[in-house]
């Protein structure tokens, strides 16, 4: 007998809220990158912009623009610049406006100054 069916019979509750409990499989999901502004220079930013296959990254002056909506979580930026880019672990990213998915990251690295 499936567990959820037995649980429903025992407790009399068949529906749950979201999330019912912390999701263990979340740690294995591919997630968009997170950036460390202290490690980002103009040069590293330009490298990241160049290798991003889905054009999720753009640089204007000392700001790196990251579009989480365009990101496919391929991990190429993290592989190229492991010091500056880490896995965010964020997967619950749904937004009610497109612009809410666009993040601006200031470049605070030493070399770019």
């Amino acid at each position: 007998m499936p567990q959820w069916f037995a649980r429903g019979l025992r407790r009399g509750v068949v529906t749950t809220r979201y999330p019912a409990r912390p999701e263990p499989s979340a740690a294995f999901l591919p997630t968009p990158p997170a950036f460390r502004p202290q490690r980002l220079t103009r040069e590293t930013a330009d490298t990241l912009v160049r290798i991003c296959p889905s054009r999720a990254l753009r640089r204007a002056g000392d700001t790196l623009t990251f579009d989480a909506g365009a990101c496919t979580a391929c991990g190429q930026c993290r592989a190229a610049e492991p010091e500056a880019v880490v896995t965010s672990g964020e997967f619950e990213l749904a937004a009610t406006s497109r612009s809410a998915l666009i993040k601006r990251i200031p470049l605070r690295g030493e070399v770019g100054r």
């Binding site: 499989s25 990101c71 391929c74």
Partner: protein, 179 residues
Amino acid sequence: MTADGRSAAVQAAAEKAAAELLRQRVVSLFGRSLHIRTLDTGSCAACEQEIRLLAAPHYDLHRLGFFFTPAPRHADLLLVTGPMLRAFAVAARKTYEAMPGPKLVVATGACALGGVYQPDAFSFGSVDQLLPVDVWIPGCPPSPLALLQGLMVAVDRLASKVPDLSFRVSADPAAGGSA
């Protein structure tokens, strides 16, 4: 003049109170019951794989009151995947028009959000070029957990869409006062 202004204000207040009452009623009645129509506008079917997993026991979206329906006429929410191919534009528009209001459009996956394809001769590049999108779910593909969270976000949006419906109430101060 002043009396007119006051009656207009009373009318506006009564409408606002009625809208809020209706919104609360919709949330209590339909907040956890929503019928979803999926629409593939040229995706690679990875998003469809994840959407299909929503109905599997591990994710079990029915526990949250969400159901898939094959008919746009029965649907409250259009779950759109793919970069919106131009060949699919008429079908997509007709599907949207066939849905009863209030209705929601959820763009699902990086293609639908405009991350993968540029607008060209074959596709619009993103769903919001053709349909009014309410919720954006990023991911390539979005995991079932991400889809569930997106649907929960969409349910709250459905409640906020209700006051936009056209309806009038009588300018009865008692009704406004009691609300």
